[in-house]
């Protein structure tokens, strides 16, 4: 068995509307890709909101069943897995760590429960040990986190706890849906670098879902670009982003505003350019 996770012509459609006018909305159309079990990688899914990237993530996590096609983990259909056994292999990380954790619940509860349910740890010392190990992998430790509530930590620390919680289950695949978009700029790169370390040191594969092309270029190995549920371009991340071929990928790349590309925007939108009629775009 060579594929860790395999999507085989996966589609998902939702029906909208009521009794009289039912509309089908195709969120994901015939998406196929596979991640190799022997070669850990960061696989990025890029797309704007409404492109179906979160629906795709939910199908990989087994939250939604595909309307057609199959998601296979280790060669077996995800739908046939027992839920706990599946969650021990695949773990999610969500966008907003402040929403992912209940504000009235201590953080260590999440870690301990994950260790018991999915990590297979039994007994206090084994649970403590596996939680501490996972926290140390993200640069924290159990004494720092024990008894703390979510509001006592910054967004960056909280997202680290969310990653540690996923690691406690010792999964083979992590699905991270926009994990850095709510993180402060000064802390964002440390989270992105952490994903790289998890891949290199722990051999984890990560499905990284984002709309941020710059971090995708920085960290990922392969990527797909989605538009309205369809994969319009795929390949090695740096090759695709350096020379995108599909018009939509090019449009996306050109819309990224960085300090380096700002000159072009300024040239067309500067005060002077706008003062001359017809120069507005």
């Amino acid at each position: 068995m060579s594929a860790l996770i395999e999507l085989d012509r996966v589609s998902k459609s939702f029906s909208r509307g009521g009794l009289f006018s039912t509309r089908r909305v195709e969120a994901v159309k015939e998406v196929s890709f596979a991640l190799d079990a022997d070669k850990p990688e960061i696989f990025t899914v890029i797309g704007e909101s409404g492109s179906g990237k979160s629906t795709l993530a939910r199908m990989i996590l087994g939250i939604h069943a595909p309307s057609s096609g199959q998601v296979r983990l280790g060669g077996r259909d995800v739908a046939t897995y027992e839920r706990r056994a599946f969650m021990a292999e695949v773990q999610p990380i969500f966008q907003n760590p402040f929403e992912a954790f209940n504000p009235l619940k201590r953080l260590d509860r999440y870690l301990f429960m994950t260790a018991e349910r999915f990590g297979g740890a039994t007994g206090t010392s084994a649970v403590d040990g596996s939680v501490d190990e996972a926290l140390r992998q993200v640069g924290l430790s159990l004494p720092e986190i024990k008894g703390r509530f979510p509001h006592e930590l910054s967004g960056g620390q909280l997202q680290r706890v969310a990653i540690a919680r996923a690691l406690v289950a010792k999964p083979r695949l992590i699905v991270a849906d926009e994990p850095v978009s709510m993180i402060d700029a000064s802390l964002r790169m440390s989270i992105v670098n952490l994903f790289g370390r998890l891949r290199d040191e722990l051999g984890l594969s990560i499905v990284y879902i984002t709309h941020d092309l710059a971090t995708a270029y920085y960290i990922s190995d392969r990527l797909i670009i989605m538009q309205q549920g369809v994969v319009v371009e795929q390949g090695p991340a740096r090759a695709v982003l350096s020379a995108p071929t599909h018009p939509y990928s090019r449009q996306l790349r050109d819309a990224v505003l960085t300090p380096d590309s700002a000159g072009a925007f300024r040239a067309t939108h500067s005060r002077k350019a706008a003062e001359t009629p017809g120069a507005r775009s």
Partner: protein, 336 residues
Amino acid sequence: MSGAGDAVPVLQVRDLQAHFRTHYFGVNREVRAVDGVTFEVNRNEIYGLAGESSSGKTTLVKTIAGLLKPPLEMVGGSARFSFLPGWDAIGRAPPEVVRAIRWRHLSYIMQGSMNVLNPLRRVRYSFRDFAWRHLGGSKVEFDARVVAHMERVKLDPSVLDAYPHELSGGMRQRVTIALATICKPDFIIADEPTTALDVVVQKDVLGMIRAIQCEMGSSILFITHDMGVHAALTDRLGIMYAGRLVEDGETPEIFSRPLHPYTRHLIASLPRIGDTEQREGLDGTPPNLAAPPPGCRFHPRCPLAMPVCTTIVPAMVETLPGHRVACHAVNPGMAT
């Protein structure tokens, strides 16, 4: 102060302090969200304000706009508008004065367009609710003016008969921009107006904001944490950290020659397409504003921290022409 010496500042903020004060169960708590901020916004320019969450950006603009609700209090300093002579802050002027300048002279573009537009009413009625009493005239005249203005922001007039949920996020944000600009205000506060939008739509909307600003010659105070947006759009840029302004100057100058260690980190840590260089996050976490560190608030995370930084607040000093920095390492021997 800035390169545009001939311009009259539309907004002059002097040593502004705004604190959140709560009293619960006999315990007084004071969060110093804005602590001694001084800057100016000139006519016909976009002044950018950058900083991470909880750095006080939104509190600062709320105080400037006079949107003070307990527990937020304006504790000291002033924020003078050129169109409001005689009052040193909108929050201190009587309600009838404030009503007269709102929307006519000062308007607001907010982040969540869905929070601005009434979800139960067609867009046309949102325009009537917001702007009719400021523009006056008959209903027919007003509607004609709205239609003309919609064309300026490249929206089809049929949008006026749509409900907000029928429009895409980009269209809705255009509608709120149209709402904020229909009275041709002198000053527009834009608080993260494009953060919720996709990059492709964001670029369009930013282009439109710039075009409208040029056409009307108004000033914009533009807030976002996205340094790429600042680089593309703003004329001058102020960097906030933990309730204080740490650096401000012409935007291209800040990007080509950042002086404050925090600004340098912000710019250096941005990943770029076509560049695989390793980029590091900053150690430590943003400070708790209820108990900020003494001296320079950045010193616990600063690579250049010196003993003086832990005790004395660095003064904002014009280090280069039009470029102010508050840092002991950059301006040795200066203190407040």
